[in-house]
């Protein structure tokens, strides 16, 4: 092993260090020098590791960073022949066009309301499920419920949407059969824009509740049993223990989940909205992601679609940073420690 190697920066003994004006330059030099030594040493020891990361790093550069640089076409009039860098600059023209397009207000509203509704609806239910499961002592029942509520998570979006369509079908679907028993005429749920958001959100809750509950189950298991014992001795009922021990115990997890949820609001799934969409419910089902797809790949307006996508990414990033900041201020804990 490298017994002879001195710790980085130890070449300069404290006594030799000049005092006064030269100090800051010297500090920089030492900083640079130590990093340089460290890098060289790391290379000598780990060149095989650097070999290993070449391919994955190339992947990230090609499929994640080049697209980011390609996004400059949002500020250009993209022309296939001239290429990304040869096309003419148009400044913010694409953005201005988008913002003044009457569809802009609708898109923003649809995306925001859908995303917000989704975050709000899918936040409390997994917590309720996890706490309820945590109260159950019967292992078999508990495991069965956990496993079965988890199942819909593994169903693909295409299948989940098809199921939704079949179940809500006006003529054959079981939901309309059920409300028919009460004498209510059949409703064409997917043909009415007003139902779109409810369908989207509640089918999502159906798919993800069991999965999300797992995280809370782990958080609940991490609560110090001594707290529960102490509460029991003080005569707290189960309900009181849930309110005063369990809920505060999972609060940090809940905050992180909520922050992530709100932070990813604008990245709301294209897959599902696109599948649930039809000409009749377009008034509420057209969101930014589906609009980008149609503008870019169906109408082949690359610059405009990129501009809209970029707008979405920037709004999403700002939202995430803001929510993270807020969470840090309120609870002292954000996403990054």
């Amino acid at each position: 092993m490298e017994i002879t190697t001195r710790p980085p920066g130890s070449q300069v003994r404290p006594a030799e260090r000049p005092v006064g004006s030269g100090r800051s330059r010297n500090a920089f030099a030492r900083y640079f020098h130590s990093h340089w030594t460290e890098a060289r040493r790391s290379w000598r020891l780990h060149w095989q590791l650097y070999l290993l990361v070449i391919v994955p790093v190339a992947y990230f550069v090609i499929f994640k960073y080049i697209p980011i640089s390609n996004a400059v076409i949002a500020f250009k009039d993209y022309n296939v022949i001239k290429g990304v860098w040869g096309s003419d600059w148009v400044g913010f023209k694409n953005f201005e066009l988008f913002f003044s397009n009457p569809v802009f207000g609708t898109l923003l509203k649809n995306t925001f309301i859908l995303a917000f509704y989704l975050v709000l609806a899918s936040f409390p239910i997994p917590i309720i499920l996890a706490i309820a499961l945590n109260e159950i002592r019967n292992g078999l029942f508990k495991r069965t419920v956990q496993l079965l509520t988890y199942a819909p998570y593994f169903i693909s979006t295409v299948v989940a949407v098809s199921m939704t369509i079949l179940i809500l079908s006006p003529r054959l679907g079981i939901v309309n059969d059920a409300i028919g028993l009460f004498g209510i005429p059949a409703i064409d749920f997917l043909g009415d824009p007003d139902y779109f958001r409810h369908i989207y959100v509640w089918s999502d809750v159906w798919q993800t509740t069991g999965y999300s509950a797992v995280i809370y189950m782990a958080a609940l298991a991490g609560i110090d049993p001594a707290l529960h014992e102490a509460a029991k001795i003080d005569g707290a009922s189960r309900w009181q223990r849930i309110r005063n021990v369990d809920l505060p115990g999972i609060m940090p997890t809940a905050v992180i989940i909520l922050v992530l949820g709100v932070g990813n609001m604008m990245a709301i799934g294209f897959e599902k909205a696109f599948l649930l969409q039809n000409d009749l419910n377009l008034a509420q089902s057209e969101i930014i992601a589906t609009y980008v797809y149609k503008t870019g790949l169906v109408n082949a307006d690359f610059s405009m679609a990129t501009a809209v996508g970029l707008f979405n990414s920037v709004v999403n990033l700002c939202l995430l940073l803001f929510v993270n900041f807020a969470a840090k201020r309120i609870t002292g804990k954000g996403l990054w420690g």
Partner: protein, 312 residues
């Protein structure tokens, strides 16, 4: 290591010793009954749609088209399955999806390990910069069209590569793998180095054999992603022969595409009826592979989610 093998979940299953069990007060027992009823209701809400689909898929075409099926098959019939499993389009989709799932997972797991292992070495110069660069791609992306342009420039459009490469590595999966590797005791590394092993040799002979649970989790995540996704295929593929199952399903189930070329009205009606029940059978057939393996792997999956959640 320990992060995966002794997850907090294992503590969930611990039963209290017999002497701890004291008869609970009346209000708590009532509360427990309420909780149990609530869980049964939730379970019902989750399962009823699934049961409804399965019941329909095993019913006769006429019963389904009349809307008579609820939660139990009527006029039990396997006709829909016969039709579904003999349709060349669907079989082709199945075959393609298998290819994408197997090859995609191999590529993805290899690349994920290749970047996660160096990132887990503390003396690996540049790991913080690299990690930050990876996490940044989670927060901000170029978007659909700029990525499409890259795939186009690489000549991957309308080839199988378009589904295997552009989404090969998930940052989340890298974080999970890195956390796992970082928990392998450092002593092993020192011992291997003293024995003259190189970094690659150490990875191959010590780390990977110890990482089977991790590899299982990663493979599972990627397999399910490849099996269930349709977006990349929708965007990058035009050739019907390359379509994965999910795109075929979308065409049949949601866009209602059928090969109608039948003149006879009675035959057409029959085909219409068959098309209805066929949808239910297709849903079952396509979801079955994943739903069969998931109970066995759910626990691993859960652990993977936990590791990510702890570090996330």
């Amino acid at each position: 290591m320990s992060a995966l093998t002794t997850s907090p979940l294992s503590r969930l299953r611990r039963k209290p010793a017999a002497k701890e069990r004291i008869r609970e007060p009346f209000r708590d027992r009532v509360f427990l009954v309420v909780v149990t009823i609530m869980l049964v209701v939730i379970l019902g809400l989750v399962l009823l749609p699934l049961i409804y689909i399965v019941a329909n898929s095993f019913s006769s075409a006429s019963a389904v088209s009349a809307g008579r099926v609820t939660f139990w098959p009527i006029d039990f019939s396997l006709r829909a399955y016969e039709v579904a499993l003999s349709n060349p389009q669907i079989l082709r989709g199945y075959y393609n999806s298998l290819i994408y799932a197997v090859c995609g997972t191999l590529i993805s797991v290899t690349l994920t390990v290749a970047i996660a292992y160096p990132l887990s070495r503390k003396r690996f110069f540049g790991r913080n910069v690299l990690m930050t660069a990876l996490i940044f791609t989670m927060l901000f992306s170029g978007g659909l069209i700029p990525t499409y342009m890259v795939v186009q420039d690489l000549g991957m459009l309308n080839t199988r590569w378009a589904l295997l490469i552009p989404n090969a590595v998930g940052v989340w999966q890298v974080i999970i793998a890195r956390t796992f590797f970082a928990n392998i005791p450092e002593d092993l590394h020192e011992a291997a180095m003293l024995d003259g092993a190189s970094e690659l040799r150490y990875l191959r002979s010590v780390v990977l054999p110890l990482s089977k649970p991790l590899l299982a989790v990663l493979a599972l995540m990627y397999v399910i992603f490849q099996w269930n996704t349709y977006f990349d295929a929708l965007v990058y593929l035009k050739d019907q022969d390359l379509f994965p199952l999910q795109i075929v399903l979308r065409n049949v189930l949601i866009l209602n595409q059928r090969n109608v070329g039948v003149a006879d009205v009675a035959q057409q009606l029959q085909q219409q009826q068959l098309a209805n029940v066929l949808k239910y059978a297709l849903i079952v057939v396509s979801s079955l592979p994943v739903l069969i393996i998931y109970p066995f792997v759910a626990r691993h999956f859960t652990k993977g989610v936990m590791v990510g959640a702890v570090k996330g």
